[in-house]
Amino acid sequence: MAEDYDIPGTYVFDADASRRGFWLNQFAMSLMKPENRERFKADERAYLAEWQMTDEQREAVIARDYNRMLELGGNIFFVSKIGANDGKSFQFLAATMTGMTQPDYAEMMLKGGRSPVGARTKEEWEMHRG
């Protein structure tokens, strides 16, 4: 019963997402332990196979496609542990998800961040991106 929240460019992590993404997120959390980090680094596919994830979720992890992970029930606070494990900064992940380069994203932040104008509703967002 995926609900439709009218906020563009946003994956609301609700109970439905939580259910779909349970193992994806639990896998990501497992990377907080050094021994798991080592095993994941040594053979990503083998480590992923140990978790009851869908193949789509596994592919999204391998591809480091964060938006896709979120779409498949990932929660940013969990899946960002994958990025941390790769030695990537949080800002790198954020930039990736917006489709911007990290320097462009960083500059946007220095200039006061993304404006809410045109980013409040899906309709606005579509028009704005034209």
Partner: protein, 279 residues
């Protein structure tokens, strides 16, 4: 009788913790942020509260998706800094006042708040960054801390109204504690931030500043707002601002702002901070 003498709100951005721990507080990017807290550090060192009730959220550190409690009250004797993937932050262990915490727990449940009590929990940047910002880098924290963790990771978090009412119940609980204790309450998280998806980087300075105004003058208006409004206006993760309402609910209707600070950016986030006198 115990009493709440002040309320403090502050963002709890993890990158701020990292900047402190790595000695970067004088760097041009970070210096304005730390300067923003200098007044408050001096003030709280003079005020010397006995206990801080610290409202924050866990970020997939202590709690996985196996268990998602809405309101958690820490009743253990102490809480260790969590290992968030790079080893625990080099900050002191957080010591509780377990007798006071047990009183709060009992009072809140009888007041019909459905608390989860925890006797074992590591505390992540959500709690330790505000401690560092307010108390610096001592060998031991100069104050006891009762952690109060709020679910904001899985939608729906408690409503803004429920948070505000929890604050009021906390006040009743504190004021029914027979010992003489000087208590402060911290609300943390926020301000504007969205750290995921194509809309990441959203900052709404107008909304944030209006929030700071209303927090002082008319918190009822903030308590009436929906999750959707918070998420839409100040980012999906900006919904953390509901935790400031727990702090505000615990104070008098009329409070005096002693200090107010706002800065963009810290990493992906707007930083907001306010000190409210509850005299």
């Amino acid at each position: 009788m115990a009493r709440i003498t002040a309320g403090v709100a502050t963002s709890h951005v993890p990158a701020i913790g990292a900047a402190i721990d790595l000695g970067k507080t004088k760097e041009p990017y970070w210096a304005p942020i730390f300067e923003g807290y200098e007044w408050s550090k001096t003030w709280i060192a003079e005020e010397k509260p006995d206990v801080v009730i610290l409202v924050y959220n866990d970020h997939a550190s202590a709690f996985s998706l196996e268990m998602i409690p809405t309101f958690v009250l820490g009743t253990a004797a102490e809480f260790k800094p969590a290992d968030e993937g790079w080893g625990p932050r080099p900050v002191p262990v957080v010591k509780n006042d377990p007798e006071f915490a047990a009183h709060l727990a009992q009072s809140l449940v009888l007041d019909e708040f459905d608390m989860t009590l925890v006797n074992k929990m590591d505390v992540d940047h959500g709690l330790t960054v505000p401690m560092s910002l307010m108390f610096g880098q001592p060998d031991e924290w100069p104050v006891k801390v009762v952690p109060l963790a709020v679910n904001v990771l899985q939608y729906p978090p408690p409503t803004a109204r429920r948070c505000f009412n929890l604050g009021k119940a906390i006040r009743r609980a504190v004021e029914s504690y027979p010992k003489d204790l000087k208590v402060m309450i911290f609300g943390t998280g926020g301000m504007s931030h969205q750290i995921h998806g194509p809309r990441a980087g959203l900052i709404n300075a107008e909304f944030d500043n209006k929030f700071l105004d209303l927090l002082v003058e008319d918190p009822e208006q903030l308590a009436a707002k929906s999750h959707l409004e918070y998420m839409r206006e100040c980012g999906a993760e900006g919904v953390e601002l509901i935790m400031w309402l727990i702090m505000r609910g615990a104070l008098n209707d009329h409070v005096t702002p002693l200090r107010r600070f706002y800065h963009v950016p810290a990493s992906n986030t707007a930083v907001g901070h306010i000190v409210l006198d509850n005299a």
